[in-house]
Structures are given as structure tokens and as C-alpha cells.
């Protein structure tokens, strides 16, 4: 199979999954199986591309020219190969989980749900493999529009207003800041292609670079840096599979991935380090990390708590990109994987608890640890990974980020990262503590939904196992980010 064919196949497989789900809409089992099949196919392709990138193979394909210097083209970068691997592998598990959740919770419109779910994955993969900034932007928008029906899935007043907020913030920021920033880059350089080391050096006026960085970081609303973070908690009205795969992995990671790509392949880390144009962003990211951790503590709703935790963790990646040193970028890129694994575990568990016991609030979890031991076990694994305790995979990315901030002599940032870990311990482990220590008098009827239990166990154990195979991923990352 030729390399360009692999890209096409990988990108259209989710679309075919969506199409087949629609065709087989009257047969529930068949309909839902296409998510798993599509996940397997895209996973194999992503894995092959991932290895190919390690062996310096080139994966690219150009379809047509949109305007001067900008083609409709795909080209897999090292960063993109990581993101696609994460999204496709977790899609398999999320599809299995979706079956258990949607049927267990008795949701309506399941066909529409699986269709748009697949389209969202399609957009995420296309973002991962996009060859230039405009193609990335196109699929960034498709991702927003395709997740809108998922956020507003329940079609009640609450989800409708959440959907409006979601759409207006994401589309609004992208049209007001992101697109003009893309035009600006194009007008200055005449191209939008991703190149190692960036394209702006010597072409873009250094004094305006901070301004461009601001337009990008606020324009890429999916990265959820404060004050553009409100859409993420609002999106939590969606069914949990959406929160798990899309709002912990595909959508938000597409946001931080876009920003990382801009820093690494458009602006260039060297240019950033020379001009120090992103140092202000370091402090904004630190603020977001701390503020959202503190908000997370106050939230009693488990999914809302996890949402604020996500905002905080996304800013780790923005922080790494803003530091722009090689260690920090390594940590930031790796954090895409580690946080995805950890956070999807937590969301899976939150959804499983909701389906089996209809509990949404942390304070209602009293005594549930004994009734749902497997779910709580998986939750603990995920939480420990996100906190950054060895031997969990999350400790690696945090380690690199702290090293990166020390390398850039931002000692305070390293301290803030430490404090944030302490806050993580508090708000992520509190549900476990409540679940195992306090007793509830209420009798709770449990519904069996085994398909919601196994996926979090797999990802949770993954957090543990991949700690020992971190180099497998890091090889790909360090191959690119050479200062």
C-alpha cells in the first residue's frame, strides 16, 4: 500500500463508518459495530504511519490548490502521528463504551449520535494529518460543527443553550482571531505549510509576534485557555461518551495540538526563544492551571469537576508550548498522550457510575467504592496517572514540563506545577476517599452495564503499563523537536 493511499484510507474510514451506521440504522448491533471496526482500521493505519515516521518515511498527498501557495494537502508530521494514534486507539474503546452507555442510559436518537461521533473522529484525524494551517482550520471547523449535535443531543432547553454557547465561543473565536491570524501569516510568508523549524523566521516582524501568538492562542478556542474556557464545562451536558472521547481527547486535544503545531512548525521554537514573545503566555497558562484547579475543588458534580481538571491539564500543554524549550515541548507533546489516557479513564468511570447507580455528584458517592470496586479501581489508576505519581505514565510528561521550566529558568513555574499536583491529589482522589470511607444509608439499585466497565479498566491499566514503554512514544517526539 502506498503511503498516500494510507492517508486517504485513514481519513475516510470514519466517514464510511458513519455512512454504514446510517445504512444499517434499523439493526442496532450492526449499526454500533461500525464504530469498533472503523476504530480498528484507523488504529492499524495510525500505528503503521507512526512506525513509518520513526523510520523517516514521508506520508503526504496533495489534492488541489486553493489559492497562491496554499494547497489542499495532507502531510503527517511526527506530532500528528502521535495525535492520530491516540485518537484512533481510544476510539475503539470509546465505541465499545458507547454501546454500553447509550443503551444502559436509554438515550434517544442513537443513530444520529454514532454518525456524528464518527464524523468528529474523521475531523480529528484530518487535523492530525493536515499539511498546512488552512487545511487544519477547515477540519477544525468541521470538528466544531460535527460535535454540535452531540452536545445538544438531549434537545432540551439546557442542552440547547449549552450547544449555542459551545458553538458561538468556538466558531466565534476561530473566525475573529484564528482565521485573521492565518491570513496574516500567509500575507507575510506566502505559505502556510508546516515545516520543521517554522516558516516565520526572518519573515515576520518580531515585535508583532506576541500579538500573533495571542491571536492564535485565543483563536484556537478548543485549547480552552482562560478566559475562553466556558464552552468546555457547558459541553458536559452531552452524554458521557462524548465528554470522554471528544471533550477529553479529540476536541480539546485538537485544540492544543493545533497550538503546538503552530509553535513547532509555523512559528518555530527558535524564533520564539529568541524573541521571548510567548513568555507572557507562560503566566496566563499558570493562572489557568491554578484557577481551574481551585474551581474544580468547588464542583460537586463529578463531570464538571473533571471538566475543570481538563482545562487545567490543557494549560500544561499550552505552558510547554509557550516555554518552547526542547524539554518543555517534549513534555507538552507527551502530555497529549498521558492526559488522554488518564482523563478518558476518569470520564469512562464517571459515566459508568452514572449508568449503573445514577449518581452524578461526588457527595453522593458514599460507600459506592465497595459496590463498584472495578470502576473505582480504574478511576484510581487514572487519577494517579494525572496527578503524576510514578509508576504511571502521567509522571513522565510532568517531569519533562518541570525540567523544561527549570531549563528556561522559570523556577516559579516549576513550583506552580508542584502545587497544582497537590491540588490534583485533593480533587481527583476525594471521590475515591468518599467512596471507600463513608457509608451511605440509602439503598441504591444497581443496573448492570458491563460494557462500561471494561474500557476504563483497560485504559487505566494502560496508564500503568505504558510508563515502562514511554520511550516508544518519546522517540517520535524527540525526533522532531531539535533546538
Amino acid at each position: 500500500m502506498s503511503n498516500s493511499f494510507l492517508i486517504i484510507l485513514g481519513i475516510i474510514t470514519p466517514l464510511f463508518a458513519a455512512l454504514f451506521s446510517y445504512v444499517c440504522r434499523y439493526n442496532n448491533n450492526l449499526r454500533d459495530s461500525f464504530g469498533i471496526i472503523g476504530g480498528l482500521i484507523t488504529f492499524v493505519i495510525s500505528l503503521k504511519i507512526f512506525h513509518g515516521i520513526q523510520n523517516n518515511e514521508v506520508y503526504q498527498i496533495t489534492f488541489f490548490t486553493l489559492f497562491d501557495g496554499v494547497d489542499f494537502a495532507f502531510k503527517v508530521s511526527a506530532l500528528g502521528s502521535i495525535f492520530s494514534l491516540v485518537a484512533s486507539s481510544l476510539w475503539i474503546l470509546a465505541s465499545i463504551y458507547t454501546i454500553g452507555y447509550m443503551r444502559g442510559a436509554g438515550e434517544k436518537n442513537q443513530t444520529r449520535f454514532v454518525i456524528f461521533y464518527s464524523i468528529a473522529i474523521h475531523a480529528a484525524l484530518a487535523i492530525a494529518w493536515s499539511g498546512n494551517l488552512l487545511v487544519l482550520f477547515i477540519f477544525y471547523e468541521i470538528l466544531t460543527f460535527s460535535t454540535f449535535p452531540l452536545v445538544g443531543h438531549k434537545q432540551n432547553a439546557e442542552s440547547q443553550s449549552a450547544g449555542r454557547l459551545y458553538l458561538s465561543i468556538l466558531v466565534g473565536t476561530s473566525l475573529i482571531f484564528f482565521l485573521p491570524a492565518i491570513f496574516w501569516i500567509w500575507l507575510k510568508t506566502g505559505t502556510l505549510d508546516f515545516q520543521d523549524g517554522g516558516i516565520l523566521m526572518n519573515k515576520f516582524p518580531a515585535e508583532y509576534l506576541s500579538f500573533l501568538i495571542a491571536m492564535l492562542v485565543f483563536g484556537i478556542g478548543k485549547a480552552a485557555i482562560m478566559p475562553i474556557h466556558r464552552w468546555l464545562p457547558a459541553a458536559m451536558v452531552a452524554p458521557t461518551p462524548v465528554s470522554a472521547l471528544l471533550h477529553a481527547v479529540a476536541v480539546v486535544k485538537a485544540g492544543v495540538f493545533s497550538f503546538l503545531v503552530v509553535v513547532v512548525y509555523i512559528v518555530g521554537p527558535d524564533f520564539l526563544l529568541q524573541t521571548k514573545s510567548s513568555d507572557w503566555l507562560v503566566w496566563l497558562a499558570c493562572f489557568t492551571i491554578m484557577a481551574s484547579s481551585i474551581i474544580a475543588i468547588t464542583k460537586d458534580d463529578l463531570k464538571a469537576r473533571l471538566a475543570y481538571s481538563t482545562i487545567s491539564q490543557l494549560s500544561y500543554i499550552i505552558l510547554g508550548a509557550a516555554l518552547a524549550s526542547s524539554l518543555a515541548l517534549k513534555g507538552a507533546s507527551f502530555h497529549i498522550i498521558t492526559h488522554a489516557l488518564g482523563k478518558i479513564t476518569l470520564f469512562f468511570c464517571a459515566g459508568a457510575i452514572y449508568v449503573t447507580a445514577h449518581i452524578k455528584k461526588v457527595s453522593d458517592l458514599k460507600g459506592m467504592g465497595y459496590k463498584l470496586p472495578l470502576i473505582f479501581f480504574a478511576y484510581t489508576l487514572g487519577a494517579l496517572s494525572i496527578i503524576g505519581v510514578p509508576p504511571f505514565i502521567g509522571s513522565w510528561s510532568k517531569f519533562y514540563l518541570i525540567m523544561g521550566s527549570i531549563e528556561r529558568e522559570f523556577i516559579i513555574v516549576a513550583i506552580i506545577l508542584g502545587i497544582s499536583s497537590l491540588l490534583n491529589i485533593y480533587y481527583l482522589l476525594q471521590p475515591v476517599v468518599i467512596g471507600f470511607t463513608q457509608n451511605s444509608k440509602k439503598e441504591i439499585k444497581l443496573i448492570k452495564a458491563p460494557l462500561t466497565v471494561w474500557p476504563p479498566l483497560i485504559t487505566g491499566l494502560g496508564c500503568l503499563v505504558f510508563f515502562f514503554y514511554a520511550n516508544y512514544f518519546l522517540n517520535n517526539i524527540s525526533g522532531v523537536i531539535v533546538n
Binding site: F64, L66, F67, F72, L134, F137, I138, E141, P149, G152, Q155, Q160, G163, R164, L167, S168, V171, G172, L175, I176, F177, L179, P180, F183, W184, L187
Partner: protein
């Protein structure tokens, strides 16, 4: 034997529709007026293509009526500036005529079919005359013919809603005021120079090289008159009711082409004739047209957000879009004028497509289309709804649609002129366009009510889809539109720089 006719192609594109319109006016038949119109417009398209061929060889055609030489006789001028618009005009009119048949039959008494198509061809001929004429008084004549035809057609909408009469009357009065302003200006110009021909006018005006008050007054009168006709903010008030109460078929033609042709003449007057007074021109562009464009963009968009009636919503969006075009034209350089032409061509397609789709909905719903009435239409009429979605995304300016190309070139032009505030405003307004457009999408696809899909009429949705597909094609392969616009700007701006 056709060669005899082809020599007169510049006149025929205008005269043919006007002549045929007189023939079909009293035809009582339901179908024949339409068939004759279609044949006429096919010939029209053929003639336009012939003109394109001629232009690509010679670059300039001056057609003298009755062989009277230009300063005395009336002449048409076809050059790089107007050939692109002429071609788009021809094609779009043909497509919308195909679309119009079933729509007209639903909206007006079938016995009026002959009158409707007679007026339709009258409007087509006179609007085409606006594109081609090289004589400022002749333009006034075409303006009046097109206004009268439009007013009568709008009034035909009274069968649906009596407010159409008021809208038509509004248009009549305000349009007449605009035309009067224009003709007073023409009078001043004629008094000072003794000529009406545009090329000759430039020569004659040169004798008043430092300008004269009477000339400036005349120019101002002409420009204000044209601004009324082109619905440039704040003299746009006739437009929203006219667009929204006219029969749906005619709204399409109005929205896509009527203001565009006048805008085209407007910019030609500015950059071909008034260019000889650079200080006056830059005064007008910088302190009148530029701020008004910004206001139009912002206010038009904001008002559109608060509209409940979809046709009105689209009409106010048109005000904002005309603002984009005049903003581009106020930039005084090649990139600005070119991007204005890009948007004239692209927006004609986008708004045409949107009005076509909404017009069909009006027929299906048998009432005015409001936000509420669109509930579940996405499932009920998927084919038309999907076309509407694509046109709307293009209106917002997302990539892979021609609206994006417009935005790209507008941003580029604004950037080279260092107008960062305008860039911000355009960006904000395109984000606000999401708000009003998404209100429609939300009703169509995400309301609680569910519908089974119903059969749609292929005679109606095929023309809609032709426009929609052209929107995507010109979004991906934008070269033709860019080339024509650059050509137009080349012709206009070369005069400015000399």
C-alpha cells in the same frame, strides 16, 4: 447569416429581452411566456459568450447606436471591466428563470404569467443595459426602466401579502428620489461640459482641471442618487421590504443582480470619470464611503440577528454584504477594487442561492417563512435544506466555499492598506453572521419536532443546486472569478495611477 446579428451583439443583449417582453406581455398562456423567455435568455447567454470571445481578442468594444459617433450618439462599452459581470449575469438570469416557473405559478395567478415574464425580461434587459452603457443619461433611462419593472413585479407579490404593495410604493418613492438626484447631477454635468458620453466627459472635464463648484455639486448629486439605488447604508431602507415581499422568484433576481449592476456602474463612475479630481475622489471615498461601509457591515449584521422573517434576515445581511463591497471599493488601489469585484460576483451567487432556497420554502410552507416555521425542515425537505446550509456556510466565509475567497482577498486588500480596524470589524461581523445563520440551522435540524421527508420538486431544486455547486467549485477553483476581477481592476485602476 448569423454574423449580421453577431455584429450587433452588444445591442442585442439589451434589446432582445426588451423586445420579447413586449411580445409576451399579453399572452394569456400559462407556459408559453416562460418558454419564450427561456429561449430568449439562451440567446442572451450565447450573445454574452460571443462578446467574451470578441473581448478576449480585441480587449475593447465600443458599440455606436445608429452609427452616431460617441459624443453625439449613445454608445455601449464592453471591456475587461464589465465582461465578467455580463457573463455571470447571463448565466444567473437563465438559471433563475428555470427556477422561477413553478414558483411563479404558486405565487401569482397563472393568467398573469405573461405579464410577469414580460416584466421579468424588461428587468433583465434594463439591468443588462446598466452594465453596458457608456452614457450617463442612458444609464438614467435604464435605471428607470429597471425600477418600474421591479416595482410592478414586487407589487405582484400582493397576492401573497398585501404589504408587497407598500414595499413597492416605498421602492417607487425612494427609487424616484434616487433617480432624481442622479438626473440632477447629470444635468449639472451636461450644463458644464455639454456631453453625456463617459469617455468624452473625462476629456471635457479636464478643462476644469482645478474643479468647479458646479461640477462637484453635480458629482455629489450623481453619487448620492446611485447610493440610494445601490442600497448603500443609510439610504438602504427601500431594500429590506422590497426583497422580502416581492414574489420569491423575483427576490432571487433582485438580491443577486439588481444592486450589483448599480454598484458596478457606481465604481466605474468613480474610477473612470471622477478620477480626474483626485482630491474630491479621496474625500468621498475616505470620509463618506469608507465610514458608511463600516456602519453598513456592523449595523446590517446586527439587525439581521434580530429578524424573525427569514427573507428580511437575508435582506439585512445583504446590506452588510454591500458594505463589504463598498468597503473594498473605497480602498483606491488595485487589490481593493479587485476584491470588491470578487465579492460582487461571489455574493451574487451566494445570495441568489439563499433566496432560491428560502423562496422554495415559502411555497412549501404556503406562508411567510419565519424562524419558527422552519422547524424540522432539515428532515422534511433535506435536498433544499442542504443547499441552504452550504450557501449559508459560504455567507459566513468558511474555507472551500467562494465566500472564503471573497474574505481572503478582502483581508489581503485591507492588510496592504493597513486598515487593521476594518479587518477586526470584518472578522467580528463574519462571526456575528454565524449567529443569525445558525438560528436558521438550529430550527431546521435541531428542533424537537420530527418529520418524515417529503418529495421535493426537481424543477426547483436543480437550479438551486446548480448555484450551490458553483459556490463550492468557485471556492476550490477560484481562478475564473479572480481573473475576471483582476481584469476589471486592471482596467479601472490603470486610469487612477496615470
Amino acid at each position: 447569416m448569423f454574423d449580421i446579428f453577431l455584429d450587433d451583439a452588444p445591442a442585442l443583449v439589451v434589446v432582445l429581452p426588451l423586445l420579447i417582453s413586449a411580445i409576451i406581455a399579453f399572452m394569456p398562456s400559462k407556459i408559453w411566456p416562460w418558454i419564450i423567455s427561456i429561449i430568449t435568455l439562451f440567446l442572451h447567454l450565447f450573445l454574452s459568450l460571443h462578446l467574451l470571445k470578441e473581448i478576449s481578442v480585441s480587449g475593447l468594444i465600443i458599440y455606436e447606436f445608429g452609427n452616431w459617433e460617441p459624443p453625439w450618439g449613445i454608445s455601449f462599452k464592453i471591456d475587461g471591466v464589465n465582461i465578467g459581470l455580463q457573463l455571470l449575469f447571463s448565466i444567473f438570469v437563465l438559471v433563475s428563470t428555470f427556477y422561477s416557473r413553478k414558483i411563479f405559478l404558486n405565487e401569482i395567478d397563472y393568467r398573469d404569467s405573461g405579464k410577469a415574464y414580460s416584466l421579468w425580461l424588461l428587468a433583465v434587459g434594463s439591468l443588462n443595459g446598466i452594465i453596458l452603457t457608456n452614457d450617463i443619461f442612458n444609464l438614467f433611462v435604464f435605471l428607470e426602466i429597471s425600477a418600474l419593472a421591479s416595482i410592478s413585479l414586487i407589487a405582484l407579490g400582493a397576492g401573497q401579502n398585501r404589504k408587497a404593495l407598500l414595499a413597492a410604493f416605498n421602492y417607487l418613492i425612494i427609487g424616484a428620489i434616487g433617480a432624481t438626484f442622479y438626473v440632477i447631477g447629470v444635468g449639472f454635468a451636461y450644463a458644464m461640459t455639454g456631453t453625456l458620453n463617459m469617455n468624452d466627459l473625462v476629456i471635457q472635464l479636464a478643462q476644469y482641471s482645478d474643479g468647479q463648484l458646479a461640477i462637484f455639486a453635480g458629482m455629489s448629486f450623481m453619487l448620492i442618487g446611485l447610493m440610494v439605488k445601490a442600497a448603500i447604508f443609510p439610504v438602504h431602507i427601500w431594500l429590506p421590504p422590497a426583497y422580502s415581499y416581492a414574489p420569491s422568484a423575483f427576490s432571487t433576481l433582485l438580491a443577486a443582480l439588481a444592486t450589483k449592476t448599480i454598484l458596478y456602474f457606481f465604481v466605474r463612475l468613480l474610477y473612470e470619470v471622477f478620477i480626474i479630481y483626485p482630491s474630491y475622489l479621496s474625500l468621498f471615498l475616505d470620509f463618506v464611503l469608507y465610514p458608511l461601509s463600516l456602519l453598513a457591515i456592523f449595523i446590517g449584521t446586527v439587525i439581521a440577528i434580530y429578524q424573525d422573517d427569514i427573507k428580511k434576515l437575508l435582506a439585512f445581511s445583504s446590506i452588510a454584504q454591500i458594505g463589504y463591497i463598498t468597503l473594498a471599493f473605497s480602498l483606491k488601489d488595485h487589490s481593493g477594487v479587485a476584491s470588491g469585484f470578487v465579492h460582487i460576483l461571489n455574493h451574487a451567487l451566494i445570495k441568489g442561492g439563499l433566496f432560491m432556497a428560502v423562496g422554495y420554502f415559502a411555497i412549501l410552507y404556503k406562508d411567510r417563512v419565519t424562524l419558527n416555521s422552519l422547524k424540522g425542515f432539515g428532515y422534511k425537505y433535506p435536498i433544499t435544506s442542504f443547499a441552504l446550509l452550504i450557501c449559508g456556510l459560504s455567507l459566513i466565509g468558511l474555507p472551500l466555499t467562494n465566500g472564503f475567497i471573497s474574505k481572503l482577498y478582502l483581508f489581503q486588500a485591507l492588510y496592504t492598506n493597513q486598515m487593521y480596524f476594518s479587518i477586526a470589524l470584518v472578522a467580528v461581523s463574519s462571526a456575528l453572521a454565524v449567529v443569525y445563520f445558525w438560528k436558521i440551522v438550529e430550527q431546521m435540524w435541531f428542533s424537537e419536532i420530527k418529520f418524515k421527508s417529503e418529495k421535493e420538486d426537481a424543477y426547483i431544486y436543480l437550479p438551486i443546486w446548480i448555484v450551490t455547486i458553483s459556490i463550492i467549485i468557485f471556492g476550490i477553483y477560484s481562478t475564473p472569478i479572480i481573473e475576471f476581477s483582476n481584469l476589471s481592476a486592471d482596467y479601472l485602476i490603470s486610469g487612477y495611477q496615470n
